[in-house]
């Protein structure tokens, strides 16, 4: 009995979580930076690959074609990010479980076909048509989860089959014409192509993250101090919030020199924030990471593992359907090409580039946001260079391969540093 301390005895003057002298603690800004470096060394890369990727991409493309960094090109980029980004958000959910959904592209195509057929051809009201597309998505996800839970069918196989089946369904309901044009003046198409936030609102919204960071940080600080736990130094909290606010306001200012911040991108960011809250601050999110890390341990802790799989697959397919709806809006059409090509891989690549592991148990909603900006920047830059789609596919393929290699190497490093 070395430390004979009864549970209710007053802890020493040291904070409760600072009593072990073997642990070094990051105090102050210098400490925060040192902690970051050692985290990266141990394979916990966080946002580093994205930051490096974005710097490289924007340097290369702006040298090759100065239009790349023009405000309006970036506004277009954000419009494009929103559609595949929302699909990628669903991918994050299934990747956290260590599963995959290969059919999100087909699902988005099917959703766009459903909108076109119901809304334009059958004259059903737009909200109902969108509702039908989302419900179809949820049903497809539920089917995958059922195949997984009841029959033990690997998600890889089930969704590969789904990829074909959903594509078939998309072609079937579009019929021989193959393409339906959506009315340009409709709110949906305007949302997907034109609508941007008023300048004042975008500046105001860009203040919110920093303000929330400070407010939440102060509340947590106070609570932790009240129970004698160590807390984040005030200085690093303020610096973080200030840097974040500055970066966001600068970005918004630059975009407002062009058309402004697209509402569609705003919707995407709102979904990212909601999913981030759900993953980090709710029991559901905790259970997701637990199931992805060790399924059997999660089950033995009393988590309903089947329900977790069900929720993740349904969320993934529903978000894919929403992404499909928005891409129909973006293109003002429902066509046989919708959701084919590189949509699938871009959505998966975005999640992985952003830092969600293919091996399960690690990831964040922000990885979809950051990853898709990288992917779309590449794709946008290549389009500006007038490269053929053959080259674009090859380059995107290479980027995905690099992302997965980085993920595997980081994982290996995490294992050897005890952070698996």
């Amino acid at each position: 009995m070395s430390t004979d301390m009864s549970p209710n005895s007053k802890p020493t003057s040291l904070a409760l979580d600072r009593s072990d002298e073997r642990v070094s603690h990051a105090d102050g800004i210098g400490g925060t930076i040192r902690a970051f470096i050692s985290r990266v060394r141990s394979g916990d890369l966080g946002m580093l690959p994205v930051a490096i990727g974005l710097i490289v991409i924007s340097t290369v493309f702006s040298i090759l074609n100065p239009i790349f960094l023009a405000p309006n090109n970036l506004v277009n980029l954000l419009f494009d990010c929103a559609t595949v980004g929302i699909i990628s958000l669903g991918i994050v959910c299934v990747l956290i479980l260590g599963e995959i959904d290969l059919s999100v592209g087909s699902m988005s195509g099917l959703a766009s076909a459903i909108i076109g057929v119901l809304w334009v051809n059958f004259g059903i009201s737009l909200p109902l048509a969108i509702g039908a597309a989302l419900v179809t998505g949820a049903a497809v996800g539920a089917l995958y989860a059922m195949l997984y839970n009841r029959l033990g069918m690997p998600s890889f196989v089930a969704t590969l089959a789904g990829l074909l089946a959903l594509l078939g369904m998309q072609l079937y309901i579009l019929g021989p014409t193959g393409s339906i044009n959506l009315p340009y003046a409709s709110p949906l198409v305007r949302f997907g192509q034109i609508l941007v936030m008023p300048d004042w609102l975008s500046y105001l919204l860009a203040l919110v993250p920093g303000a929330v960071l400070i407010a939440a940080g102060l509340v947590i600080r106070k609570r932790r101090q009240a129970v004698n736990l160590s807390s984040q130094p005030l200085s690093s909290l303020v610096v973080k919030a200030a840097v974040l606010t500055l970066v966001l306001e600068a970005a918004v200012y630059y975009l407002n020199m062009g058309r402004g911040v697209p509402w569609m991108f705003g919707l995407f960011v709102a979904l990212v924030v909601i999913l981030n809250y759900a993953l980090t601050k709710t029991q559901w999110g905790r259970s997701m990471f637990a199931v992805g890390g060790n399924r059997e341990a999660a089950r033995r802790s009393g988590i309903n593992v089947r329900r977790i799989y069900m929720s993740a697959f349904m969320l993934c397919s529903t978000l894919a359907a929403l992404g499909g709806t928005l891409s129909a809006a973006r293109l003002a059409s429902s066509s046989q090409q919708a959701g084919t090509g590189d949509v699938n891989l871009n959505a998966i690549a975005a999640a992985v580039i952003g830092g969600t592991s293919l091996f399960g148990g690690r990831g964040s909603a922000y990885s979809a946001l950051l990853g898709i900006i990288v992917i779309q920047a590449i794709s946008n830059g290549l389009t500006l260079l007038n490269l053929s789609s053959s080259l674009r596919y090859m380059i995107t393929g290479a980027v995905l391969a690099i992302a997965v290699i980085v993920d595997s190497l980081a994982r290996r490093s995490r294992v050897s540093h005890g952070r698996a």
Partner: protein
Amino acid sequence: MISQGARPGLLRPGVTHVERRAPVMQRNVIGLPPKGTTILKLSNVSKNFGAVSALSDIELEVKAGEVVALVGDNGAGKSTLIKVLAGVHRPSSGRIEFCGQEVSLDSPSRALELGIATVFQDLALCENLDVVANLFLGHEISPWNLDEVAMEVRAWTLLRELAARIPSVREPIASLSGGQRQTVAIARSLLLDPKIIMLDEPTAALGVAQTAEVLNLIERVRERGLGVIIISHNMEDVRAVADRIVVLRLGKNNGVFSPDASSHELVAAITGATENAVSRRIGRKSGEQAATGGSHA
């Protein structure tokens, strides 16, 4: 009730089919039963894995405020029995009574809900989550807005109680040593105010101080009126805390002993022979010592 694939002959005569269809679904509302009353009673519990019968016709009773040690050789079926009680495996046949009522332990969450907490031999921790997340997994404080501060405080309190040597509760389990992980698993079992706690080789990886703390803890828990089942290969520890020693051999009951039974008796029951490797070794050692004139402690 455990009826999945049950052969009728193995069910007790009193069990009717009507009862079998109506499992007890009542929630864990009753407080701790008074000391000395039976919390857990197993009769004729069997478990087959394909052709292997890991458990056959096991009888076991645990009273409130009693420590029952479960001993047996490797592969005797101890862990399997624990897992049946934890709801991890469904028994092939048999009857389990909890607090006087027949129950069907068909999932781990059901067992936890009834107040059966378990420290598994393989610990069953999520390596990617930190200590706090593992402790509270499935039972987080305020599920819609996790109260990390309250959970962290509770975690430190519990770990101190166990004299844990854990540097930081915000590091993933993957970075902890084997013994530290074991401490986390033990702390987790205490979190939900269980009625009975089952520890599968809880001290196998622990240091001297931590083992002593766990044994102390078992005694404290017994004082509080919980039932305890402990599995251990360390006869010294077993004798130190157990009120009764139940021996399993090849998946069958092989006698119940009091803690002051001779080591020779216990070893014989565990290995199934009076003449065995252990007794021969002891005989040889004492022979050598007699020859060199040393005295046996």
